[in-house]
């Protein structure tokens, strides 16, 4: 339930510690961040600074070790696993670096999948999936398997899958990482269009060219936000 007077996402003192073989990794150490509805945020930083960890927590795939996360004003820590799954399904659209399409399913079925989990009636499901595929210009490949598509096409399918459920926020972890520049640019333009239509987008990239597309560029270093550059400044950079 988005509301204009509250930020869509609010993080306070967020920490994430991984415990492995007698070693603690502080992936995130005290993140404060607010993202409003309609924002287009890009997160950058060197490898291992905690970008993916942050995105996973934003997308409710993972939980913070410490700190608070409010989503649409609700403290996320209080959610049950069922509610978390429901929010992942309805509010969040995920785009992964490695596409993560399911090889056994056709392109169309991949796009349809989150809608099935949402329990949409068949007709509506099919319509939404078709529209999403149209959107990324891949309707003609609906019955193909992912393995029969190029990398750029696969990532466009992943975008279609993410937006088919009309999520309130799109999270993308280096969506262009496995693509050449032409295909990468195409995906970014797609995100731009979605943003113009009002989508809230949060993208991890360390490619400055792509970071430019965002309104806000957040720099992470060692698990902390070290800098936030508004779009104008970023463009000037």
């Amino acid at each position: 339930m988005p509301s204009s007077d509250r930020p869509m996402i609010r993080l306070e003192g967020l920490r994430k510690v991984f415990f492995t073989d007698e070693m603690e990794t502080h992936a995130l150490s005290g993140i404060h961040l607010e993202i409003d509805s309609g924002d287009y945020v890009s997160i950058s930083g060197p490898s291992g600074c905690g970008k993916s960890t942050l995105l996973a927590i934003l997308g409710l795939l993972d939980s913070p070790t410490e700190g608070d996360y409010w989503l649409n004003g609700h403290p996320v820590a209080e959610l049950s696993p069922i509610e978390r799954a429901r929010i992942r399904n309805r509010e969040v659209g995920f785009i992964f670096q490695s596409f993560n399409l399911i090889g056994d399913l056709t392109v169309f079925e991949n796009v349809e999948l989150p809608l099935i989990y949402r329990g949409l009636p068949r007709e509506e499901r099919k319509r939404n999936a078709r529209e999403a595929l149209d959107r990324v210009d891949l309707s003609h490949r609906a019955t193909n398997r992912p393995a029969q598509l190029s990398g750029g096409q696969q990532q466009r399918v992943a975008v279609a899958r993410a937006l088919a459920g009309r999520p309130s926020i799109l999270l993308a972890d280096e969506p262009t990482g496995n693509l050449d520049s032409v295909n990468g640019e195409a995906v970014m333009e797609l995100l731009d269009d979605l943003h113009k239509e009002g989508a809230t987008i949060c993208i991890v990239t360390h490619d400055a060219r792509y970071a430019r597309h965002a309104d806000r560029v957040i720099n992470l270093f060692d698990g902390q936000v070290v800098e936030e550059i508004p779009k104008a400044a970023a463009a000037a950079n």
């Binding site: 795939l61 799954a85 309805r90 399911i102 989150p114 989990y117 972890d173």
Partner: protein, 812 residues
């Protein structure tokens, strides 16, 4: 050879490296192979091993057959036997016997009933078995005036005489008469069954009526005579006799049955069914292990690809894998052999039924060979699938497919699914079989025996001729004895009968004098029982019409009988039998007849409810109840209704018996409930065993489906993570994995049901009032298997819901 040893070393090392895999596989195989070995050892002893007689294939039983009367293997008339003896062109030796009931009394111990047969002189020559000590019977020693001699069994000699060799030449007393012991048979010879004393016949077979058929006959065919030829000649002879002796031989043929067939024919179907069942269990175990191997093959695919890239030949690789699987199977076989040995011991300890010859079961070279062969074959069967699957020279696609969607993950998945489907199908077939037997068993248990079996003690007495030569003495003895027992505290009533319920009695011919005489071959026949008046009340048998017998009916008063309901319906369908008359010639019932009056007329005074007299699963045969005072019998069973636990009164009852005659053995002590249970022992035993194997199949198949799904969940972790990232709830994941299992189960159930539909026909002979395609059983068993398989799917499905959606983010 060098290569083989190297393969062996590799194989052993691979197993040691994977102790979990190895032990699961070995246990599954041991269960399968052990069950096979156990059943095969019984099959070997009972069906395969030759009988312990000289040239046993030449031995036949000679029966008289009257299909018109529904009698397939009937004892022969001694007169016919005497004529058969002349067929020297067919038989080398031929011998007959009948069962007298004999009490052994001597100075060595308590009086006891010993299993005795009276045999003709050629009896031992038929078998060609030499005595351990002394000699067997000489020609002519079976005549009436011959010296009284006996041959003893090894068991009796050990049990009663402590193996004292000097007993040969000494005398023992049978029914009070001294007989000198002339020989001891070797251990293991107790033909026809558990016989302890063989006594010469002592009467002339030709002196009987051809109508009296009570003589069992065994013969040795001449070496060049086949059983078919002998059968043809005997049939021709029987035809001639029909013409020559129409009064006695109309519609009577002769049937020769190979002795081996005769002894084991009854249990053969059940044993073969069990052998088939354990074969199925082994196949399921094989499928399980093949699945495990496939999984492991997947894990080792890279290693194999590298080896092949280095030039290892396909054959070389297949051999390597087969060596490993055969090694596994051998380990399973060794453990299975131990299981079979222990299981066999346990089975024999329970001693559920007398399977003929089963006591000869044990581990011998043939069993070892069988186990070895089964293990080898098993290893090849479950090893060949992964070996082939794995060594397909398709390196390119291995590289292209990369790590995740590898061959072991895609076409391997299909093979694994197919294996699980067949496991489910096989398990269903076994479960259906077991279910049908169980239902039969319950049906049988639900059969109304026609009496009230609770709190009834039964035991058998035999009055020896030497002390009770007058039959009035016999009936007075039993009348007095029942009076004395009835006076005991705890006893409600006591009576006697010539034949107990469920114990097929003997038959006699009768006629209905008001009706035209029946033509030869269509004589009226019924079972007969001699009972004391209170018999029906004591056993709770209903009286449907007329009156009971009374104490006033004696040898001197007019004859009266009670007939059973079956007889009333068959012979008096439209009239009231009470008041009608029967005549019977008791001379037709064997050597006893000389102590009994000839034809007598009897009045039917009552109709008794049907009592199962041929076994619980059989239709009730027509029966006539005589008063024991009018048709006395030396061997009678006491039936004693008590108001306490029946066996607790045994001591007091025995004291009453011995107070009347100290030398009288009390035998066959049983409660009526035990008698009923005994009659179902065979059904219980095959149900139990098949149930056991079906349960084993159920467990193995569940482990199979569990294994396949567990592996699949492990393989699909990433995919499951993606699904969860897309918002799949735990319920969705649970449904997906269980659903995957259920699809396999459903296909397996449909296939198995179709196959069972065709196969259960084979156990039809073991079923009682249950169709081999009984819908209820098919449905219930499918539901059971489906439920267990769902449970087995649920565990890996639970595990799938615990997948961390974070895996979706990692690219492996």
């Amino acid at each position: 050879m060098d290569n083989f040893l190297q393969d062996l070393r590799y194989g052993a090392r691979a197993l040691i490296k994977n102790p979990g895999f190895a032990s699961v596989a070995v246990i599954a195989l041991a269960l399968g192979i052990g069950a096979n070995t156990a059943i095969f050892s019984v099959v070997n002893a009972v069906l395969l091993r030759p009988l312990p007689y000289q040239n046993p294939d030449q031995l036949v039983m000679v029966w008289e057959t009257s299909l018109a009367r529904g009698l397939e293997r009937n004892p022969a008339s001694p007169v016919n036997y005497a004529d058969w003896r002349e067929q020297k062109q067919i038989f080398d030796h031929i011998a007959g016997w009948w069962y007298p009931q004999i009490n052994l009394t001597d100075d060595y111990g308590e009086p006891e009933r010993v299993r005795t047969i009276d045999v003709t002189d050629e009896f031992f020559s038929v078998f060609g078995v030499q005595p351990l000590l002394g000699r067997t019977f000489l020609q002519g020693e079976d005549r009436r005036d011959a010296e009284p001699v006996v041959v003893l069994s090894y068991n009796l000699w050990q049990r009663r005489f402590g193996g004292d060799a000097s007993i040969v030449g000494k005398a023992i007393r049978l029914d009070g008469t001294p007989y000198s012991v002339i020989g001891i048979m070797p251990a293991g010879f107790s033909f026809p069954e558990d016989i302890e004393v063989w006594r010469p016949l002592g009467w002339d077979p030709t002196q009987h009526s051809r109508n009296a058929r009570f003589f069992d006959v065994v013969a040795r065919l001449k070496p060049d005579v086949t059983i078919e030829r002998a059968q043809a000649e005997m049939t021709a002879l029987a035809r001639r006799f029909e013409k020559e002796y129409p009064q006695s031989n109309t519609d009577w043929g002769v049937t020769l049955v190979g002795l081996h067939d005769q002894i084991v024919g009854r249990v053969r179907p059940a044993l073969l069914v069990l052998l088939g069942a354990v074969g199925f269990v082994l196949l399921i175990a094989c499928a399980n292990v093949a699945n495990l191997l496939l999984v492991r093959a997947g894990a080792r695919e890279k290693e194999v690809a590298i080896r092949m890239a280095l030039g290892a030949g396909r054959f070389r690789l297949i051999r390597q894998f087969l060596t490993e699987s055969v090694l596994l199977a051998m380990l399973g076989g060794a453990l299975g052999l131990a299981l079979a040995f222990l299981g066999g011991r346990l089975l024999m300890a329970i001693n559920p039924i007398d399977i003929p010859r089963a006591d000869e079961a044990g581990i011998d070279l043939r069993i070892l060979g069988f186990t070895l062969a089964v293990s080898l074959l098993t290893g090849l069967i479950f090893g060949i699938v992964p070996a082939l699957q794995f060594s397909r020279p398709d390196l390119n696609s291995t590289l292209k497919e990369g790590g995740r969607e590898s061959r072991a993950g895609s076409s391997g998945r299909r093979i694994r699914s197919a294996l699980v489907v067949s496991e489910i199908a096989l398990a269903l077939m076994l479960l259906v079989g077991a279910g049908l037997l169980l239902k039969s068993f319950f049906r049988l248990q639900g059969v109304n025996p026609g009496l009230n079996p609770a709190n009834v003690l039964t035991l058998n007495l035999q009055l020896p001729f030497s002390n009770y030569s007058d039959w009035r003495q016999v009936s007075n003895f039993y009348a007095q004895l029942t009076d004395r027992i009835e006076a005991l505290p705890g006893v409600t009533s006591a009576d006697v009968t010539g034949f107990l319920p469920l114990e097929s009695g003997w038959r006699l011919r009768f006629a209905i004098p008001d009706r035209p005489p029946t033509p030869p071959g269509e004589e009226l026949v019924a079972q007969y029982h001699q009972v004391s008046p209170g018999y029906f009340r004591t056993l709770g048998i209903r009286l449907l019409a007329g009156r009971e017998l009374t104490d006033h009916e004696t040898a001197d008063s007019p004859g009266v009988v009670i007939i059973n309901e079956a007889m009333a319906r068959r012979y008096f369908p439209d009239e009231d039998p009470v008041g009608k008359r029967l005549t019977s010639s008791v001379r037709s019932i064997g050597p006893l007849a000389r102590y009994l009056p000839a034809t007598i007329e009897y009045e039917i005074v009552g109709i008794a409810g049907n009592v199962k007299n041929d076994g619980l699963g059989r239709a009730v045969e027509e029966a006539i109840y005589f008063s024991h005072r009018q048709f006395p019998y030396r061997s009678m069973s006491l039936v004693i209704r008590t108001n306490a636990s029946p066996l607790s009164l045994l001591g007091a009852v025995r004291d009453e018996i011995w107070a009347m005659d100290k030398a009288l053995p009390v035998s066959d002590v049983k409660t009526m409930e035990e008698l009923l249970a005994d009659s179902m022992a065979e059904s219980r035993f095959s149900t139990l065993l098949l149930g056991l194997f079906a349960a084993l199949a159920l467990v193995l198949a569940s482990v199979g489906i569990y294994g396949v799904l567990s592996y699949s969940v492990a393989q699909r972790k990433h995919e499951i993570g993606i699904r969860m990232a897309l918002g799949a709830g735990q319920g969705d994941i649970l449904k997906m994995v269980v659903g995957q299992g259920l699809v396999l189960v459903a296909i397996g159930l449909v296939t198995g049901a179709a196959a069972a539909f065709g196969v259960t026909r084979l156990i039809r002979t073991l079923l009682y009032e249950v169709s081999a395609t009984d819908t209820e059983t098919f449905v219930i068993v499918s539901l059971l298997l489906g439920a267990v398989a769902t449970l087995a799917s649920y565990i890996p499905a639970r595990r799938a819901t615990k997948v961390d959606p974070m895996v979706a983010l990692r690219c492996e």
